[in-house]
Symmetry: C2
Subunit: 298 residues, 2 copies
């Protein structure tokens, strides 16, 4: 039996990536749409799927992996809408209804990080993992968790970047860039924080810059907290900032030091190379996350 055709929408603050496909290795069409106004952007999304429908047939389900915060409470009348967001004009935007109205097929929605985590469990670095934590370190810092194949939700969705951790020695005067918390992990170690500290994006910092130890320290506290709270099988760290070569080894080194041998498991011994890993799906984790959500909805 041929696999069903699925539609995926990765909604980001600057662009929306739409794909149609039967799975990660069978993509049939893809388009990048700039994120402008909600009305214009969502109309372009619907247009894309109408055009691909003519060519490939109707998608049996859609998945939306979006920036947040989102209302994901299934009992809420505003399920599938953005909550308060700093993105102008997008507050309370209903992301689900335009697709559902246009095509009449199921539409799933989740955070971009929960989507990416799900894709990594289905097709990537954490295939079959009972518990996977996915972090993204970019302009902001977010995290999602997949527990027994299900993206984790409760009252709302996780906001993992906003925990507080100790200051790196000598860094106490930096107040952090998070508009809500100042010195939460996002405020201390995100792309925005890097820009505020050193006036340059992560990719311009040389390999011997002290930034990597400092960032490794903060992000390791995130990994430590995830380890102690979830005991996950694997932690996947994606996002633009993580692409800088010196960072992942620094995160692993600091995490190892912070664990201090407490959890005696073979995966947590040595240099944590099997435990804290980059996304196997690379830059595709986001859009394949949307496809993974569609697969679940179907």
């Amino acid at each position: 039996m041929e696999k069903p055709i699925l539609g995926g929408v990765e909604a980001g603050g600057t662009k929306v990536v739409c794909v149609v496909g039967r799975g990660p290795d069978e993509l049939l069409a893809e388009e990048r749409i700039p994120t402008t106004t909600p009305a214009e952007t969502l109309a372009s999304v619907v247009d894309f799927f109408r055009a691909t429908e003519a060519q490939h047939g109707r998608c049996t389900a859609f998945g939306i992996a979006s920036f947040g915060p989102l209302d994901l409470d299934p009992r809420s009348p505003t399920w599938g809408c953005l909550r308060q967001t700093p993105k102008p004009g997008w507050e309370r935007t209903d992301l689900v209804t335009p697709l559902r109205k246009a095509f009449g097929t199921p539409v799933a929605i989740d955070t971009d990080v929960n989507g990416a985590g799900l894709a990594e469990v289905l097709w990537g670095a954490g295939r079959g993992a009972g518990c996977l934590v996915y972090f993204t370190v970019g302009t902001g810092i977010g995290g999602g968790a997949i527990v027994n194949g299900e993206p984790l939700h409760g009252l709302s969705h996780p906001e993992m970047g906003h925990i507080r951790v100790p200051y790196y020695r000598g860094d106490e005067t930096f107040k952090g860039t998070c508009p809500f918390h100042g010195d939460c992990v996002e405020g201390l170690a995100s792309g925005s924080a890097i820009l505020a500290r050193w006036g340059t994006p992560a990719e311009s910092l040389p390999a011997d810059h002290p930034a990597w130890e400092l960032l490794g320290f903060y992000l390791a506290h995130l990994c430590l907290s995830a380890t102690m709270l979830f005991s996950p099988h694997i932690i996947v760290m994606g996002g633009g900032v993580m692409k800088s070569q010196p960072l992942l080894p620094a995160v692993r080194r600091w995490t190892q030091r912070l664990l201090a041998g407490y959890v005696q498991l073979s995966t947590l011994e040595g240099s944590l190379e099997r435990y804290i890993v980059p996304p196997a799906l690379g830059d595709r984790a986001g859009v394949l996350g949307a496809l993974a959500l569609a697969a679940r909805a179907h």
Copy 2:
């Protein structure tokens, strides 16, 4: 149809509590056994259930809610055994086999906190919650999570007390009492830390003692981390230290301050009285946790 008879074993460092019953309101027998050597203690446990079997019939399943760390990997040959523990003589003790051999019925095992959390989801403060986090603050600090009705595990089980958080202002000279990490939350805010700081147990500290603000601050960071990583529906805080009246309000106050309005949900508004709560099952959460595990095994 009559409900099945279940056996519960709450295994603690100083005592083991065994119960037989059909549910929290239908307990048929109970006994407290001092924790001495593994052989003696586990023989007494089996003896108790033999005696109750004669009177009430055989238990259809057993649940063990134990101190840890435990091997809970179902593929491990040492599943159901204690791992390295400071409790003399108990390292690598097999908790499951004595009961299974004696009675031939299913035996479930989990951490005491996962058990207590499950009991609170089934019968207590978080009835039906999709995501509940249970903390215990006693000699040590532990935490468990119930996600979609299942106790959370991954590589191992959570060890929530061992995250690092910022120091309370002025407390930086206290090195903490955790033998592994020093100043993790357990090292800074457990009963052992209280004794080390003030030379007296929590219950002897007066209501106007500065301890409550300090402890509230540290435990609020635990609640903040749980909120940001899990987005739970409810956080339940049990354990001997939490019984001191001034503590829970201090934890709620600090958590509210740390959240800083970031997650805009009605449950997280105001004084968090519906969000951070004592166990509805009170001191029974532990032993009913064991019974809840038995109910799942059955």
